[in-house]
């Protein structure tokens, strides 16, 4: 696999992600507009839909905050040149910052200096998964600051079990209020260690909203949490209304007997992600977007 292909595809993924929402999110926003009963909420959803349409047509970022760049990589164990992929993704991020353009969002916490090109220590962050085969699947996931600021991890009481989890999620959504630019997608995780919990919650945001889980217990919990957070009345942009969440995606891991970690990752309405599959011969296809 030519490493330059990986770089080029990643640049395109970043451009697609920030300018065009995946179909499932677009549909969810349209559904929300039809289902919303509050006039104020409807006004906000209409503005969001108009903005999304304009961004796509003008090929401009749909939000001025183009986020911190994350990549999720599923690498076939037989892919050659795995050691060069990180550099290719860093190069792609720098190029996309200029070419799209993206807002420079990588700041050194000691000097407060912005690197200017969206790269820095651990930025972009690359989440790796090794699978059998010789394909490479890359997802670009730019994550905005407003919704990131209200993500929470809690070490709950094991004795309370799922009851504690449900309270934790509802409280997190109420506390967040208008801050994460609702309607939101929520990634909720149960179990693991503290670090696994927040990582799982964020990764759960990658699953399309309309793609149901195979696990009936998770599906039931997702439905229950979705109904619960949409009872809050926070509504689009926190101005009051029926639609606070577009979807709730849950994932879980086994836990220590004495621990019950849980996490909620918030995604703003600008739920940006784009995925491509690169084959061993360098041929590639975009899985999340139609590319003309």
């Amino acid at each position: 696999m030519e490493i330059k292909i990986v770089e080029n595809v990643a640049v395109k993924l970043l451009q697609l992600a920030v300018t065009e929402l995946p179909q499932d999110v677009k549909e969810a926003l349209q559904r929300a507009y039809h289902e919303e009963e509050s006039e104020v909420g409807k006004t906000q959803l209409k503005a969001i839909l108009d903005n999304v349409e304009l961004a796509e047509k003008m090929r401009k970022p749909m939000c001025q905050d183009t986020g911190v760049i994350n990549f999720y990589v599923k690498a076939g164990a037989e892919v050659r040149g795995l050691d060069k992929i990180e550099q290719a993704l860093r190069n792609a991020t720098k190029r996309a910052t200029k070419e799209v353009p993206l807002r420079p969002n990588a700041v050194d916490p000691f000097t407060q200096k912005n690197s200017g090109n969206n790269t820095g220590r651990f930025v972009p962050f690359i989440h790796w998964e090794i699978l059998p085969g010789d394909d490479l699947e890359i997802t670009a996931f730019p994550k905005g600051g407003g919704s990131e600021n209200v993500c929470v991890i809690g070490m709950l009481v094991p004795g309370e079990g799922m009851i504690g989890l449900k309270r934790f999620v509802v409280d997190a959504v109420i506390k967040a209020g208008s801050k994460p630019c609702p309607p939101n997608i929520l990634g909720v995780s149960i179990g693991g260690g503290a670090d696994i919990a927040i990582k799982m919650a964020k990764k759960a945001l990658l699953r399309p909203i309309n793609q149901p889980t195979q696990n009936p217990e998770i599906a039931k919990l997702e439905k229950e949490l979705y109904a619960a957070v949409n009872m809050t009345g926070i509504g689009p942009m926190g101005l009051g209304g029926k639609i606070t969440a577009l979807g709730v995606n849950v994932d879980y891991a086994y836990r220590h007997p004495a621990s019950f970690p849980a996490a909620v990752a918030f995604q703003c309405w600008a739920a940006r992600r784009a995925t491509a599959l690169i084959h061993f011969d360098g041929k590639f296809e975009y899985l999340s977007h139609k590319v003309k």
């Binding site: 104020v40 749909m62 009851i163 942009m237």
Partner: protein, 204 residues
């Protein structure tokens, strides 16, 4: 609750006109809008204290909490993206800002607190919530960058004096009668929390 009314106002906006607006109304603005974030608010208040004139008279105008992405094309400035920033950071300045300069519409996202709400009631101003992140919608309503001032504060913090056409939709979230929509929603949400717990089987 009164039915939502749509208003289209042209700057300069009079105190009388702004007092007609109520929370939940939708507002579109045509005319002059000035961007100002933390640093610009601070400097404007310093100028007032020292009796110095601002680069533009803000009376009757709209002030936008926004740090736009601006680029220069030949001789002209062009707005690329101009979404609202979080307004609560300006809460410590806004009451004096409204009192001193008589700006009639403050635009941002996330709402503002009691100090600002009280000042809006006393001096006649409203807060218009613009959809967070809707940067292209905002940029599209900006027809011309008249000029920039205070460039030493940096591009996002500078005062950008903009000519806008039907800039909106803005949801009136604080009106000139002391009503604050974000507070009202917050209270309603708090009241429903125990009902949600009950439905989930969560003890209080």
């Amino acid at each position: 609750m009164r039915k939502m009314t749509v208003y289209k106002l042209k700057t300069p906006i009079s105190e009388e006109d702004v007092r007609k607006l109520e929370v939940n109304d939708v507002l579109y603005i045509t005319g002059t809008m000035v961007t100002a974030r933390d640093a610009a608010h601070k400097r404007a208040l310093d100028f007032f204290k020292k009796g110095k004139k601002l680069p533009i008279d803000l009376q009757g105008l709209a002030v936008f909490h926004c740090g736009p992405i601006v680029k220069k094309e030949e001789e002209n400035w062009v707005i690329v993206a101009a979404g609202p920033t979080t307004s609560t950071r300006m809460d410590i300045f806004e009451d004096k800002f409204i009192q001193n300069f008589k700006a009639r519409v403050i635009i941002g996202k996330g709402g503002m607190g009691k100090r600002t709400t009280d000042a809006m009631k006393k001096y006649g101003a409203v807060y218009g919530a613009f959809t967070g992140g809707a940067a292209i919608l905002a940029a599209n309503a900006i027809k011309e960058v008249k000029r920039g001032e205070w460039f030493d504060l940096g591009m996002p913090e500078a005062l950008w004096i903009l000519e806008v056409e039907e800039f909106g939709p803005l949801t009136v979230a604080i009106d000139a009668h002391g009503k604050n929509l974000f507070d009202e929603v917050g209270k309603r949400v708090e009241a429903v929390r125990s009902k949600i717990y009950e439905k989930l089987g969560v003890p209080k």
